[in-house]
């Protein structure tokens, strides 16, 4: 079923919206949550919570890309769950956090803009300035928390190139954010 039709079901408060969302995106969302939490049970719960959140968000929200809309909810819920449980098990979040910490300089600085959405706008601008391949690679790694191997397979590119490209993209992002006065 097309995204617009599923969104119409949410707006009509028709419970088929949840079923159709699960049919179309359930596997993707479960995979996303699992890659962050490394737990099938927790991932399943996060996906169920995603549908509840989506039900509450619509009407009001009318997303054009339902998959992206649901993915963002799942990701947020999964990260919150991981932090809340203070799990000692290493999740996918720790792996990508370690890489993202490269972007943050070690020096003491209070210039980081924690409020008003400037960082989000800067991230969007930065990513739109990249070529598609680099952009997709970044999002698959840091939004979807896919492993290097999974990204290499999906994109048909060698793992060494993925690692190098991500490293350079992180460096470029650091320079960009510093230039914007955000770091």
């Amino acid at each position: 079923m097309e995204d617009t039709k599923i969104v119409d079901l949410y707006w009509a408060r028709d419970e088929r919206a949840i079923r159709e969302s699960d049919t179309k995106y359930g596997r993707m969302l479960t995979s996303l949550s699992y890659s962050l939490l490394y737990s099938h049970e927790d991932a399943e719960e996060c996906v169920n919570d995603t549908y509840l959140d989506a039900w509450g968000a619509m009407p009001d929200a009318r997303p054009t890309y339902l998959g992206a809309f649901l993915s963002k909810i799942t990701r947020r819920i999964s990260i919150d769950r991981y932090r809340r449980l203070h799990s000692e098990k290493r999740g996918g979040i720790d792996n990508i956090s370690m890489e993202l910490s490269d972007i943050i300089p070690d020096r003491e600085s209070s210039d980081f803009d924690f409020e008003n959405g400037r960082l989000k706008d800067a991230l969007n601008s930065f990513l739109y300035s990249l070529d598609k391949e680099k952009r997709v690679m970044f999002i698959l790694r840091y939004f979807y928390s896919k492993s290097i191997g999974e990204i290499a397979f999906q994109m048909g590119i060698g793992e060494a190139k993925i690692k190098t490209t991500l490293f350079r993209t992180r460096q470029s992002l650091q320079k960009y954010l510093e230039g914007q006065g955000l770091l």
């Binding site: 179309k24 479960t30 995979s31 990701r75 993202l100 910490s101 990513l127 048909g156 590119i157």
Partner: protein, 210 residues
Amino acid sequence: MKNLKKQKTEYLLREIGELDDALIAEAIEYRSKRKSLSRTWLIAAAVTLVFALTVGGNLISRLNLFVGNKGEGTLDREEFKIQSVEALFLENKSQRLFDGRLVNSSEELPYFSDCAHIVWQNIGESGYYVSQGLKSSEIEMLKEEMGNGVQTGVSSPTLNYKVWVLYGDGKVTSPYLKQTDGNISGEIFDYEAEIIPEEKFVQILLEALQ
């Protein structure tokens, strides 16, 4: 300082979760362009090959019908019955019609994934080849044809390849089996072929794998 860096990293991690929907959707839909190159002529060549093998095989079988009186709907010439899917993977071995990622053990297979995958194993080798993820339209078309095929009869043919479908939700089955509850598992399993998939299934499979 370390705490501040950790806080900033956490904030960055969460802000990445608020990127534009269009960026996230683009990544979902991204498929390697390299796999799409020469798609048209590869499909044409492969379909021609499959057609020649199946139609040619059918003609041979009609000349050697029902030896041993196995009844309608079963075939007697095992070696040609298994040509269609078998021929596909045999041809792929030499012609690289499609790619597969090699994993060493069944534990590495993507049982829970955002899409379905085809898995195949060359009998005699220990590893498994995993296809790229299938689109939902492709898996739906394959599902419609799964379970359709000619029954193998009393003795199952010897296969050079074992093939499975991983639906991505933990369920696993094989196109060589009737689609009953007992033939759906939560992991890769050994089996004896109950049916031989039909030509239509093979054509859909080839398109999905490329």
